[in-house]
């Protein structure tokens, strides 16, 4: 790809990008959120059209007008949000659009199942072709996405943030699989901002910053630190400085909690723990081990079957969300766009979502715009939400990291007793992740109780004071973060015993 330029409206996303990939290698496309990585790859896959610049495949100038053309040129793409029909089986998803038929459009399901099974074994990506996507774990779904591309004869695979949704175990397996694919001659382009994975699996790395390409390097020649500095354009310090915790009285107490999911399957099975003021309790675990149901129970989004949840000694289970908020619980939800923010509302309105009721922000049901904006401006300054003076900007115009800052600003502004953070750094870049971690520790030092639920083991290890490992709906163990190791937590997360 030579001299690629692209703008959306007045916004220049890509300014003169050059990007080339060698056959049979794994090539990382590294950059912060909003650097233009995905846009560049969407152009290669025909989902966007470049304003100027040329694309060459095997030395031949090509015009990629649509995904169909990209597929014809043996390019496959696995999107960050999977493009799979949940109600379809694996086979149906894989063959969609290039179905095997017996003529007259009648699908030959038997042959398709056979073909796809063969393909999946050939590449060591075994899947059950008759299983429905909605019944599969995320890691398996990703496998199906990769097979979907291979089924279409893809020689070049574009993977957009492939490990964002995977568990540590799945990531390991994934890296192995990608290495095998590259060995068999496939070319892999991986969009990412996770440095350790770049180091672990990639041969080359192209760094993009604010729509311009900075450099393409041999991964082996550079350290993680150096790559990170290239990505953000300044020196970065790793690790988080943290004073020892100073836990005080119990804020949240969970006793023998039993919770079932929508289908009536027991997901939280006799969980007990407590969180004290001035400490961060991290809940570590592989996805789908009951974390979601646990949080939903604490925030009264879900009924508990039995057991007690106490805030400051007062039982709150099976009451209302309003009561939860009144009791002093604030939540940074997992999906900021779905449940954290109203994307079309302004930053100020989003900040006031919880506090709009009383004075000075409203009087006899009438909102006081100037007070609201003043308050919001103060918070956006305090939390360094960018761009500057964004109080009246719709929140959807902000980058992911800044959106998260808006959520955090709102949730901490109510001065809660307990702050629940669920995957608070999901999809954020290095700079923003550090910032979020800093805030969580600040809240702790102010004497708040913090409950951190995360699938990122590193995050739990860095931020939490105590770690509760959840496995299969039960707390496998609660350990002191300072006295444990990743290996021990990893064992507990997968059902292994305490060493």
């Amino acid at each position: 790809m030579v001299g690629i330029q692209k703008s959306f409206g007045r916004h220049h996303v890509l300014k003169n990008i050059d990007f080339s990939v060698e056959k049979g290698t794994i090539h990382a496309l590294l950059g912060e959120n909003g650097a233009g990585k995905s846009t560049l790859m969407n152009i290669l896959y025909g989902l966007h059209k470049q304003d100027s610049g040329d694309i060459f495949i095997n030395g031949e100038l090509v015009e990629i007008k649509s995904p169909k053309v990209a597929i014809e040129h043996k390019i496959g793409m696995v999107h960050q949000h999977f493009m799979l029909v949940p109600t379809f089986t694996v086979a149906q998803n894989i063959m969609l659009g290039s179905e095997l038929t017996k003529g007259l459009g009648i699908v030959d399901f038997k042959k398709a199942n056979r073909e796809i099974s063969r393909l999946s074994e050939e590449y060591g990506q075994t899947v059950n072709t008759k299983k429905k996507i909605e019944d599969m774990a995320v890691g398996m779904q990703q496998r199906v996405e990769i097979l979907k591309a291979l089924y279409r004869g893809a020689e070049t695979l574009i993977l957009d943030e492939p490990t964002a949704v995977l568990t540590p175990q799945e990531i390991k397996k994934f890296i192995e699989n990608m290495r095998n694919l590259a060995r068999s001659g496939k070319t892999i382009i991986m969009i990412t901002h996770k440095l350790n994975e770049v180091k672990q699996m990639c041969d080359y790395c192209t760094v993009i910053r604010r729509g311009e390409n900075v450099v393409t390097v041999h991964v082996d020649d550079y350290s993680e630190q150096q790559l990170a500095s290239m990505m953000v354009g300044k020196e970065l310090t790793f690790g988080i400085e943290k004073k020892p915790a100073n836990p005080k009285e119990i804020k949240l107490e969970v006793q023998n909690l039993l919770v079932s999911d929508d289908r009536g399957v027991k997901r939280v099975d006799g969980v007990s723990f407590e969180v004290r003021a001035g400490e961060i309790l991290g809940i570590a675990g592989v996805d789908e081990n009951g974390q979601q149901e646990l949080v939903e129970a604490i925030t009264c989004l879900r009924k508990v079957t039995s057991g007690r949840i106490k805030i400051n000694g007062k039982e709150i289970q099976n009451t209302s969300i309003a009561n939860v908020i009144k009791s002093g619980i604030a939540t940074i939800p997992e999906d900021r766009q779905k449940s954290g923010l109203v994307m079309t509302f302004s930053v100020a309105e989003n900040i006031l979502l919880k506090g709009y009721k009383g004075r000075p922000f409203s009087k006899y049901g009438r909102m006081n715009k100037s007070e609201i904006n003043k308050f919001a401006s103060r918070l956006t300054q305090k939390f360094d939400v960018r761009p500057k003076d964004c109080a009246e900007l719709p929140v959807k115009k902000l980058s992911g990291g800044n959106q998260q800052k808006v959520v955090i600003a709102r949730e901490t502004s109510t001065d809660p007793d307990l702050l629940i953070a669920i995957q608070p750094t999901r999809g954020l870049d290095v700079g923003a992740i550090g910032y979020v971690h800093k805030i969580l520790i600040e809240q702790r030092d102010k004497g708040k109780a913090v409950l951190l639920i995360s699938l990122e083991l590193d995050e739990i290890m860095d931020v939490a004071d105590r770690i509760a490992v959840i496995y299969n709906g039960k707390i496998a163990a609660i350990v002191d973060a300072a006295k444990t190791s990743e290996a021990e937590i990893g064992m507990l997360m997968t059902g292994g015993g305490k060493k």
Partner: protein
């Protein structure tokens, strides 16, 4: 209850089921591709008018029937353009189709026939050929001859639609478009193309449903012949969980309820007939209240795609 009464019950049930079934199948195919279609009522009305008028002027009920399908597709194409190309709100555009369908039909009836009811037109023939119905005369089975050939067609469409949706590559693409259009798009299939096809087919089927009312149940068109059947068909589609076979079963249930009220009315009795007539509608409401929550609506139904 005598055997002839049972036969009558069967014949009546099938008669009331048929128009609902055509329209419900139309709803199924449109919504499975991701386009909501609450304009079924308007399409049926326009179909009913077209069938009566064409059948009257040409003297050929088959011509009337197929013209109704064409007219339905034509009218729904407005909804298709609005909701697929221009990404309009599908509830509003569907409602507009309802008003438009009823309005045009009444207007054209006045224009052509100078009354509010079209003159009697030739009806669709029986599903049984003459030499068979001949044997029915004056037996307990004589009412069987009033089963229309279009009723058979409706049930054939159930099977056809089932086959297309679940056995062919076309069906796979239609279902995928209604569930996850972005997935379809990234595989190089045109989402608008699939949706246009399905919406137009939906208009045709609902048009057939209307035609059945005006040239098989009755033999003329007036503004009240459809009276809510499009909405009942919509309920049948939901009740049937957006599947052709499910829609068929729920249409049979609604048809049966309707026929029961007719029979009870004839017998006379304690319940006032006007109250009895509400039975199918109450049943519809009950079905919606009890089942809509657990239903399997296509995920992208009603959501425009870029």
């Amino acid at each position: 209850m005598t055997i002839s009464n049972l036969v009558l019950l069967l014949v009546g049930t099938l008669m009331y089921t048929t128009p609902l079934l055509f329209a419900a199948l139309g709803g199924v195919i449109s919504e499975l591709s991701g386009v909501m279609n609450i304009g079924l009522e308007g399409i049926m009305t326009f179909g009913a008018f077209t069938a009566a008028a064409v059948s009257f002027f040409s003297g050929n009920p088959f011509l009337g029937f197929f013209a109704a399908g064409l007219a339905g597709a034509l009218l729904i194409s407005l909804h298709a353009v609005a909701s697929i190309t221009f990404r309009a709100d599908q509830t509003i555009s569907g409602t507009a189709i309802n008003f438009l369908g009823a309005g045009i039909s009444v207007l054209l009836t006045k224009k052509f026939f100078h009354t509010s009811t079209s003159p009697s037109a030739p009806k669709l023939p029986s599903v049984f050929p003459k030499w068979i119905t001949h044997h029915f005369e004056r037996t307990t089975f004589q009412t069987l001859k009033s089963i229309s050939i279009a009723t058979l067609l409706a049930f054939i469409f159930v099977y056809l639609l089932y086959f297309i949706l679940y056995k062919t590559s076309w069906g796979l693409r239609i279902l995928a478009t209604g569930e996850h259009p972005a997935a379809v798009d990234t595989l190089g299939i045109s989402v608008p193309k699939v949706r246009y096809f399905c919406v137009l087919a939906s208009g045709m089927l609902a048009g057939f449903g209307g035609a059945f009312v005006s040239i098989s149940v009755t033999s003329s068109f007036s503004s009240i012949v459809i009276c809510g059947q499009g909405f009942i068909a919509l309920a049948a589609m939901i009740f049937g969980k957006w599947t052709p076979h499910g829609a068929m079963l729920s249409c049979l249930l609604f048809g049966f309820a309707r026929e029961c009220t007719t029979l009870f009315e004839k017998e006379g009795g304690l319940i006032p007939p006007s109250l009895l007539e509400t039975l199918p509608y109450i049943l519809t409401l009950m079905a919606l209240i009890l089942f809509v929550g657990k239903s399997a609506m296509p995920k992208a139904d009603g959501i425009p795609y870029i």
